[in-house]
Amino acid sequence: MLGVPEKYKVDKKFDAKIFLNSDLTPKEKKKFRDAVQEVVLEYQIAGEEIPSIINDEYNCQVILYFDVKLKMLKDSSFVGEIMQKVIKPLAVIRFWSENGECIYCLAYKRLNLQDKEQIVIEDTVYSLPISMYLPDEKGRLIDEYIGYEKIINRANKLTFYYEMFTKMMIIANLNIWTKGLEALNSKVYYNIDESMYVVKLLKKIKQLKFNLKLVATMSEKARINGEIKSCIDTLNGFIK
């Protein structure tokens, strides 16, 4: 998956039940059990070839790659939310189903400042559905820019993961920022703060686009369009 070297291969199956905890309602537990058919930990990037980072905010010693077979791909976000909460390390989850499509899920996590044993999920990103067998533009972009060898910022496991996260966010939102394609080749990922700002702006544009549908008057729509334009202009400034 995503060109991760074989030396990190784990290929360990998990019982889906281990992801069910007391926070879930019986109804959610049932839905989860019905949806998930198989969970495999494919890879685990450990060791210090890509350095770990441990401080007050992060504890990133491994990056996990899961392959999760779902009965129906539309349950990806429901299952992804539960799994990412339970899996404390940074994790890439690929959901797939027998219809031949897959969806990637990444979550940016930090430590809970009150309880360092707990994590807080700041952001989650899902790719659009990608065909696993037919030529697919989105899949090509993911392979081309998010594959293991393509990640440029290897300062530590957090920067490595966040580069994947940012690129996935850009690829999933090319409809709101067409110059995102150029951004995939930019050097914005060398600076995690700038990457985070890119993600923040993309999320803001998504929210504004949603708001655009809710307002009725042209003036309100134009005001929102103006804000979107301003965000896009800022984003374009990151393309170096």
Binding site: I176, M218, A222
Partner: protein, 625 residues
Amino acid sequence: MELKKISQEIYNPVNENVKKLAKLFPAAVKDGQVDFDALKQELGQFEEVGKEKYELTWPGKTLAKQLANLDIAGRTLKYVPEDSKNPETTENLYIEGDNLEVLKLLRNSYYGRIKMIYIDPPYNTGNDFVYKDDYSKLKEISDIEEGEVSEDGERLIKNQRSSARFHSNWLNMMYPRLKVAKDLLTDDGVIFISIDDNEVDNLRMICDEIFGEDNLVGLFIRQSKIGGGSDSKYIVKEHDYILVYCKDIIYLDEMFIEHDEEYLKRYKEKDKFGRYFWDTFARPGLKNPINYDIVAPDGTIINGDWIRSKERFEEDLKSGEIRFVKKDDGSWSIQFKQRLNERGKKARSLTTNFGGTIEGKQDINELFNSDKIFSYPKSVKLISNLIKLLNDSKMIILDFFSGSATTAHAVMQLNAEDGGNRKFIMVQLPEPCDEKSEAYKAGFKNICEIGKERIRRAGEKIKEEFKDKEGIENLDVGFKVFRVGDTNIRWTSEAIKSGQIRIEESSATKDALDFNPGFTDIDVVYEIMLRHRDFPLTSKIEKLSHIGERTYIFADSVVVCLEEKVTNEVVDKIAEIEPKPLKVIFRDSAFDDDISLKINTMNRLDVQLKKHNQGKEISYRVEFI
């Protein structure tokens, strides 16, 4: 000694008879005209009383009402970049033209968006020029009005007291303007109108009718000058008025003016809730005394008339708002914290410190080194005080009798002082300056030139005065200038209808077919913007040079494509715009008479827009001119 000029009037027997009649029966002559019903009543002949109703009426009132509702066809606002200052960033406007036309044109873009209107209309002193409106559109009355426009067609006429319609002319001017102005106000919007004794009663009555009696906020009596007046025959006038109405009193916030330094001196103490002073709790001599016993710290029972109820006293005592102070004679003084209302104090109808004529002249003098550039300017202090009453640092303020543009000056000054972001819209008819006037000698041909120059100079002066204040570089001292003019767009194919152009020639002269002579692309874009509801005229216009030489976008949302041919390349590039436009406007003539071409082009636009939106549907509109 009074130096009288030779009367220009020639003996008019009818006028003389009317004057004699007025001497005998004042009630039978109204505004220079005989009221025959009133005359009959004076002579003891009473008609049926069923027709009577309470209202102010005058000759031309119905027409004035009609005029307010008459559509503004064939007119628009043309951008004047050479007179504008900081047009790329400013949110202020200066509009030259008949204010009734301007108000109607603004009704589309600014309907319900103006929080404050201040006007200083002609006081109708007998020498004022008033607007003579063009009633020609109202066919049924054109005959009546014939001959009332000055010979050279000027619509600004001198309304002399000897005129048979002295008050009516003034009311006919004011009524439609106020009626349209009301539409521009926000629900909590307020209009302030300066006026004096000449028309205050009439103005109040028409405002009661237009805004509703319940929406009268108040009437300020402003001290306009002190001293002088030896030329007054009876009583020296030292005041004028500011009549205040709101759009809907239900939404109107309370009004406060800031405390003066003297008043604040009393509030010496301060705690976490703000400033206060210790005031005596006892209030002997109250009309309805609140009498009860209070037990002092040493057990003494004090009976008295108090300012607050027993329940309130007990609450305040617990919360530390009350204290007991032992006086020299051993008795107790009970005191409470009289708190300062941080928003200010309630405005009082009698104002002696709102700034008068002298301050107004000083304001002008500081900018032009002469106080004779403009007669009777209102002071910046006056307008600032009125603006402060509304407690809104982001509102739009309109002045459609803007004169020397004191309102704009006050808005910039106040924004500099309190960091506000108020915007102004000044409207003024370019009344020519008298050739003998100081203003004319100084190079100002009309009042608009004075107003614009004042804003330029005042803006720079304010920036200099506040140069050390943080953020002053963001102060908006710019303004976009517009001028009322004829429409740029041939909204119907009148050029063809009128035989100016034959349809077969149209492909060679598409501009002549679509636009009026003298148009510019920018004028057309502004005109289209003006016809879109709720887009302020200060909205940004960008030329999309990468698409074509005649394609623009305004407010980041509406694409106006004035290209004579709409090619696939143009369509594809429009579809690539980010964020996606809400509307795209093409010229009908760009497709000639080819319906298939038009449909194909629109289909292509749709497909391309979807493609750039990852195949998702996108909501947009296409319109044609």
